[in-house]
Symmetry: C2
Subunit: 278 residues, 2 copies
């Protein structure tokens, strides 16, 4: 690991590291916020999945999360959202969002040699964090939009590895969305069971008991241009009702998909995770 | 005034407007945060002078200021920091910082027809805000770096127009700094009395009694690459000591010049202004 940036922030440190990601066969960067208390005792970790940290400052670093994390004594890890580098192929432009690694393990050439964001977020990065920082081993997942999809799908499949999961405006049902279908077919091949493995609604439908001990919190703005059809929010609400899944889903009147929406509710997410992590 | 953006944020509204600025002979944009309470009763205003709001998201919108302003019931006006448009000349690149209008009234051609940021911030914009929004008429100034220079110089010259002034890492003594001297000579001509009129240290030295009722708060990181020589912080501290000026100047150990520094201390600045505005 190479420390690229190290800045004082709310009495703690906001840092950026680069490292070679074996899972992705490329070098990756991530940002991390270390609360002041980590100098005295181990702290729990939230993985905060949003837009890229590289090259532009990410949503993660802007939303005031550090203030609350400093106060509550939580480490925030802010990974990049896709593999990067000259050797990493880009998706064709008509498949949309080159920024989005979709938090899956690609099986199709040429993507399968690098696009393993699922394993990177769930396995490689937590191992690195536990080796390198003074953390308790307790961890939670949080994400925005496509990062919300990543947080939900990873936590639903590994509920015993995470104390809680939360999402802002998550993509809930990508296998039913034309725009996502294009990307899923590039990464995973034609429509099959593999798509359902990366779809929060389908995962809950197939195994609703998996999350009966996992605290789930979702905030969604009703003025979000992607809500509800493109995000599949209604399908998520329905599957939770149908199987009596105790997710807390808040529809926030007047809010959109932006930084201002995330900033307005991030304190409640961190307090939700804090209760589960301690 | 044309409303360009309008987003929910901490129960209030984060908006962007464009308008024709007569003072600057060009169209300008500014951002404004309206706290929830403004729907019920008039609110005081803080002018927050930082980097550009256009085209990139500014520091102003990132630092969590809206959370505290919503809570305290303060309107935050975030102006652009220079005139813009095809007809507005750019400074030569070797004069540095094309982003910086220096918050002065230029007297030299070709700058003098547009670079009147001093009058824009002190006169035109407050008149517009008072006409358009439900505000009390009480106002304060706050700024970062060059914006801190703007806030200090304007408030020192018009202490009865502002309830308080604060700055993060302000440029305190530009007339003594080679890099600023280049810009000042472009805007104001060769070194003369006009330079001293836009220099917080010189203004205080010449009329220390002007600020004896004006609350002043400054935070400065000791790891800021511009501290102390380029910012002239020591000269400001000395002039305050010499003339018994009651400015509160905090040197913050470990902090740099960045968003993280501003975010870490912005709550204390808003609470400082709140006490003076109410």
């Amino acid at each position: 690991m190479t420390l690229l940036k190290d800045q004082a922030c709310f009495g703690g440190r906001q840092q950026t590291y680069s490292h070679h990601a074996h899972t992705l066969s490329c070098d990756m960067q991530f940002a991390v916020f270390l609360p002041p208390k980590i100098q005295l005792s181990p702290a729990p970790v939230i993985y905060w999945l949003t837009a890229s940290i590289n090259p532009r400052i990410s949503l993660a670093a802007q939303a005031g999360i550090q203030r609350i994390a400093a106060d509550l004594g939580i480490v925030i890890v802010m990974p990049d959202n896709r593999p990067r580098g000259a050797q990493v192929p880009d998706l064709p432009e008509d498949s949309l969002d080159l920024e989005a690694g979709f938090y899956l393990n690609a099986t199709q050439s040429p993507w399968s040699s690098h696009y393993k964001m699922y394993d990177y977020i769930h396995q490689e990065l937590p191992t690195l964090i536990k080796d390198y920082f003074n953390v308790t081993g307790k961890q939670s997942l949080m994400g925005h939009a496509m990062g919300g999809h990543g947080a939900l799908t990873i936590a639903i499949k590994h509920p015993s590895d995470y104390c809680s999961v939360s999402a802002f405006a998550p993509m809930c049902h990508p296998s039913k969305h034309p725009w996502c279908q294009k990307v899923l077919s590039q990464f995973l091949g034609s429509r099959d069971i593999a798509w359902l493995n990366y779809d929060a609604v389908e995962l809950l439908k197939n195994n609703p008991a998996s999350v009966h001990k996992l605290p789930i919190l979702i905030d969604q703005g009703d003025q979000d241009a992607l809500y509800p059809l493109q995000l599949g929010t209604d399908a998520l609400i329905n599957v939770c009702k149908q199987f009596d899944i105790k997710a807390q889903i808040n529809i926030q009147t007047g809010y959109d998909h932006s930084l201002y929406f995330v900033a307005s509710f991030i304190e409640s997410h961190l307090r939700f995770h804090y209760a589960a992590l301690n």
